[in-house]
Every structure is written in structure tokens, then in C-alpha cells.
Symmetry: C2
Subunit: 375 residues, 2 copies
């Protein structure tokens, strides 16, 4: 187990408080982050779409797991007692009758249906449940889940801090890892290996961009184009420890950057600085976004927001954007991620990871330098 | 682009044939494998749950992409022409009105709702679409998609062959990578780095198990327990090339294996051999399963099946299981994955990756030795 039982008991108790307020007598969870958050069940096996996994949190008492037999040994290592299994895949009934017998005890069941959610089971099976349990209401639990996971425990923050430090240490090796003439995909490979050597458990996410005036595309896999003199190389990584993500990038110039790049880099640094000044308990996500936008002006990139929540997922709610009025609280972990057009479609993106504290935020990442670093 | 335009044109033409047969005038796709399969759009950014991505395949003509602006540069590198974007995340309308205006042109729209599918958008948004497009039928397209992706092109098989060879080469280094006294998580780390050094693009999936009589749990992340003399170490990897997966494992004994392990290893090898003899065009998945079960008898493991489809996902339909009557065809790529209890809850699992050909299947993996290898 990644955390002690008390951690999971506290999470579940908090879920049950929020359920009480929302009038829910059960939470029906089926997605990796939520199942892991409540039970501690952590496996890469979610990458196989074959089998569904279900957890039901009742208003009182321990959660109940309804899982394929292949997952029983791992689920038995968690703090749960009531674990019901079937041999999956099944031709006609992939856990649905087992699940229905559990859900039939409840009348108002929360299921994530809102912003950033997905239905991690076949829609036809969910619709079948709705028909079979005609007297049961399934209502949107996305706000309950967002609230539940928003503030991190000190145990979670400690893990997040560890993976951010590891990734900073890997970025510190940039001068040894990247060089003019290197194919971009080899630069990615070298960095991924460095992250693992520095102690990252896994590197599920590594994207980046390269170009003399920045990059238009910040989500692509690398191709084999060579790094040129005066190119800006940006790498953005979501490396993990105990399944918790860092999510930040660093920009390096292979030589002396163009003036427009220098200026954009410093503007983004100052925008982050403004964000750090605003990121206090009581401020809203929109407040931080607006502070950063004041520095950047109308030249924001195509990312759509200037940061987001961070934890068990690469990106979590809330968003730093003008319409998100979520109020920050101590223990919330967020990224500050301003972006800015340099010229044409090319842009720069900065990103830092922080914890909201009473006063100035705690940096999880070591601050990028004010001047674009050259290697 | 990972493949030339002709590959995507052929996939789309084939999709449109299947749609015609199924009476669908559009396919509405939203999940990573399907969007990538049709468009070539490949990015790790799907790990962020924030933004939905939509592709609509009409009965004739090119697919239409409806995607967040952050993905526009990458989508513009694909073979698609009609790409509609919005700034995501949006407070109230995350692409839904754009999507609705596209879907409104059609009356019978296929959406994946069946086996192994997930709804990769908020359920509330999907329900809103159903209300807004009250005259439109949304019907299950899972069988259409399963049929579409079942047989691989030679271009796909070539990529699959490449990643399987890379992983075989990495396993060949086992004697240098693993040793008695090594913590299990360090063995995993060493193997992941070796896969990258051998040329794997990424290692999204690596699980394993260790124990004197095998392992009960084949889906867990590693802990720091040390490898002991006579332990069986099993590593099961889904490494990727151009986003295509290998999926196979290898077992090694740190010294001389227990007799029960030796026997189980050879039984599984013979079960795979029987599977290889049966894996011919015209045989069903159930036929292969039954052939393997005849060798293993009643001592099968808790995996629930003896293999599955392989390609753009770690596991794809069909399943090698007694109820899956899917008939194999040339070009289908599957895994043979027999498992067997050794003692108590501990088991061994074998896995090979093959292409169905006219005659004997093509091995993508180099066959594991008949006797448990010692390192």
C-alpha cells in the first residue's frame, strides 16, 4: 500500500461527509483515479480496456469492491474487507449482476457525469443498470469528487514533492543530455532514461517542442528532426511516484536565444511570479488567471488556461481560467502554466508546481531561471 | 504521420463499408484508439481528462475532427481537411454545440457502447446531445469497430514486429539486468531502461511477479522485496513503437527452479504449442482456447482467458475464451497467454504474440524456451 490505512479512512470519511451534504446514500466509482483514491488499488492494468472495475462507497462503513478475479489478490492487500469477484471477461454479464445486487441497497447514487469525467464501463451496461434499478436515481457526483480530491493530505504532498524534485534533478542534467545535431526523439529518450535513473517510478507523460521562436505544438510525440543552434527545446513531463504526478516543463536554448524568445521567456517568468503572489487561500482560480493575464496581455497561447490541479492525475480540476471561481485552500496543489505567442503560431510555455499554504505557496518545483537558460 | 495517407484512406473506406452494412450514416468516435486509428492523431495528451476530442466519420468522404484548439496544430498534420476547434476547457459548452452541428446532419449514428468500450466524454454532455438531437438514433457501433480493427495491415504488422523484436532483445539481457538480492522495483527500472535503450519508443505497461512457486498477482506495481535464489521472476511488458503495443512476458529463475515450476513451465509451453497448431484462418478463438485448455486441464490461472487481440491497444478484442466464437482471419494479431496454477494461489503465465497467416502463424516474439530459463 502506498499510504497507511488511516489515510484511506480519512478520505472515505470525508467522502461520506460530502455525500451526506449532497444527499447521496452511495457513491458508485469506476475510474482509475477514484478507485485508487478510495481503496489504494494501484495497477497499470487499467490500460487494458477489457475489464470494468467497480467500487461502491456507502453512506457509512467501508467501501465495497466489485472486481474481476484477476484483481482480487491486489485488492486483498488494500484496507477493504468486502471484495466481490467474478471471472472476467464474461460473455453476457461482466460484473453487472454482482454490481446491481450491491447498488440495489441504495436509492440516490452518485456517479461522475460532469466536467472532466468519463464513463469507464460500457454505456450499454450502464443503461441496463438504470433500467434494472428503475426506482434508483443516478445523479452527478462530479462536484463531490472534485471537492474531495481538491485539498491534498501532507502524505500526498510529500509524494508530490518527491517526484517534482526528481524531475528537477533530471532537468539539471540538460547540459549533458541535449546537444546540437541530436534527433528530437533521442533527446526525449535520453531524458526519459535520466528521469528513471534519478528515481522516477514511471514516465507516463513526456511531450515537448522545438524551434527557433518556440513551438506551435505542445502535445506531439517527437519526430527525428535534429536540434539546431539557437533552437528552443521544451520538455514537459508527467513523471510519477506512487502513481502521483509532477507536471511541469523547462525550456533550454541551444546557444543564444532570439531576442523575441528572451523577452517572451522573461514575460512568462514574471507572469508566474504574479501568479505566485496571488496564489493564497481565499483567492479564486480566476484571480490567479487574471493576474497572469495582466502580465501577458492578449498574447496568450492556445492552451486555453494558465494552470490546473495536480495529484493522482496529470491534470485535475480546477482550471486557472477566467470562469473558474473555485476558491483556493491550504493544501491544494496546482500548476501555474502561462503560455505566450512569440511569433506566428509559435509560443513558449512555462510551468511550476505549487502547494497553497497559509502565506506564500510552497514550491514543489525549483523555480526556472528568469533568463532563458542556454546549454 | 506514422503511416501514409493511403493507410488511413483504406481504414476509412473499410469503416464506411461496415457502416453501410450496419445501416449507419455516421460513426461518432471519441476515444484515443479510434480517433488515432482513423486520423493518425497520436499524442500522450489523452492522459489529461480535461478536454474531449471528437471525430465523425460520414457515410462518404473524409472524417471531420472537432477538437480543442490546443490540438489543432497536430490535427493539421493528419490527412483530415475539416477540422473544427474551440478553446477548451469551456465553462458551459466544451465542444458540444460544435459537435451537435456536425451530428445534426445524420440520422443513425454509431457510438461505441458495447464490450470493452468507454464513454470518453462527460455522460451529462452525451445525454444532452441525445435530448438536443431527439430525432437521431445513437446505436451501438462496438461490433463495427471490433471488425474494423481486427485484421491488421502489413504496415501495422511491420510496426508490431519491430516492437516485439525490441522487447525480445531487451529480455535477452536478463542475465545482465537481474540478480539475487536486487529489489524488485530496481529490476523493473533496469528493464524499463533497457527497453528504451533497445529502441522502444515508450513503456506504458510493465507489470510482473516474483516467487518460488510463481506469483498470485500479475497486475501489481513492484515493491522493494529482494529477489531470492530459486525465485521465478516474471516481467510482462507493453512497450510501444508508433503507439503500437507488444504484450508478452518472460519468466526467469534465479538459479534452479522448483520441480513444480519446471513442470508448469513446460505444460504452458506445450499449451502454447497447441495454440500455435490451432491458430489458423477459419479456427475460432474458442477453438484455440479449448486446445490450450486440453493441455492445462483444470489448473488454469485467474486471468480469465488465454489470450486476446493486440495492436493499437495493449489488449483488443477478441478474447481467447470458450464463449468467443470470432473466426480468425489472415492478418489478425493475437497473443497466446496460457496461465496455470502451480501451488496454492501461485501461478505461471506465458505469452507470445503472433500474426494469423495462411498456414502456420507468424511469430512476432521469439519463442520462450521449453525449459524454464535460469539466470
Amino acid at each position: 500500500m502506498d499510504f497507511d490505512t488511516a489515510e484511506f479512512e480519512q478520505r472515505t470519511a470525508r467522502a461520506q461527509e460530502l455525500m451526506h451534504t449532497a444527499g447521496l446514500d452511495a457513491l458508485f466509482l469506476m475510474s482509475e483515479p477514484e478507485v485508487r483514491y478510495i481503496t489504494g488499488f494501484r495497477t497499470l492494468f487499467w490500460q487494458s480496456p477489457t475489464r470494468p472495475w467497480f467500487v461502491v462507497v456507502p453512506a457509512q462503513g467501508k467501501p465495497i469492491a466489485i472486481v474481476p478475479a484477476i484483481g482480487e489478490p491486489l485488492m486483498r492487500t488494500t484496507w477493504l474487507d468486502d471484495i466481490r469477484c467474478w471471472s472476467s471477461p464474461d460473455a453476457d454479464d461482466d460484473g453487472i449482476s454482482l454490481l446491481r445486487s450491491v447498488l440495489a441497497e441504495f436509492s440516490n447514487i452518485g456517479v461522475m457525469m460532469g466536467r472532466e469525467s468519463q464513463l469507464r464501463m460500457p454505456l450499454s451496461d450502464f443503461q441496463k443498470l438504470q433500467v434494472d434499478l428503475a426506482g434508483t436515481s443516478f445523479v452527478d457526483a462530479s462536484p463531490v469528487i472534485a471537492e474531495l480530491r481538491f485539498v491534498k493530505s501532507e502524505a500526498e504532498i510529500s509524494v508530490l514533492s518527491e517526484i517534482c524534485t526528481i524531475a528537477c534533478n533530471a532537468f539539471d542534467q540538460a547540459g549533458h543530455l541535449f546537444h546540437i545535431g541530436q534527433p528530437l526523439n533521442e533527446a526525449f529518450r535520453a531524458f526519459k532514461i535520466e528521469l528513471l535513473k534519478q528515481g522516477a517510478e514511471d514516465v507516463p507523460y513526456l511531450v515537448g517542442g522545438v524551434g527557433r521562436l518556440g513551438y506551435a505544438d505542445v502535445i506531439s510525440p517527437p519526430d527525428s528532426r535534429q536540434l539546431n543552434k539557437a533552437d528552443v527545446l521544451m520538455l514537459d513531463t508527467g513523471a510519477t511516484m506512487k502513481g502521483y504526478f509532477c507536471d511541469f516543463d523547462r525550456n533550454f536554448c541551444l546557444g543564444d536565444p532570439e531576442n523575441a524568445v528572451k523577452q517572451a521567456h522573461e514575460t512568462l517568468w514574471l507572469a508566474t511570479e504574479a501568479g505566485l503572489q496571488t496564489a493564497r487561500p481565499g483567492a479564486s482560480c480566476a484571480d490567479i488567471f487574471n493576474t497572469m493575464r495582466e502580465v501577458i496581455g492578449s498574447r496568450g497561447g492556445n492552451v486555453g488556461r494558465y494552470g490546473h490541479g495536480l495529484g493522482i492525475q496529470l491534470t485535475e480540476t480546477p482550471s486557472l481560467i477566467d470562469w473558474d471561481e473555485t476558491i483556493l485552500r491550504e493544501g491544494a496543489v496546482i500548476t501555474l502554466e502561462p503560455s505566450m505567442n512569440v511569433a506566428g503560431g509559435d509560443m513558449l510555455v512555462h510551468e511550476e508546481n505549487i502547494v497553497i499554504r497559509d502565506g506564500a505557496p510552497q514550491m514543489l518545483t525549483r523555480r526556472t531561471p528568469q533568463q532563458m537558460p542556454s546549454i
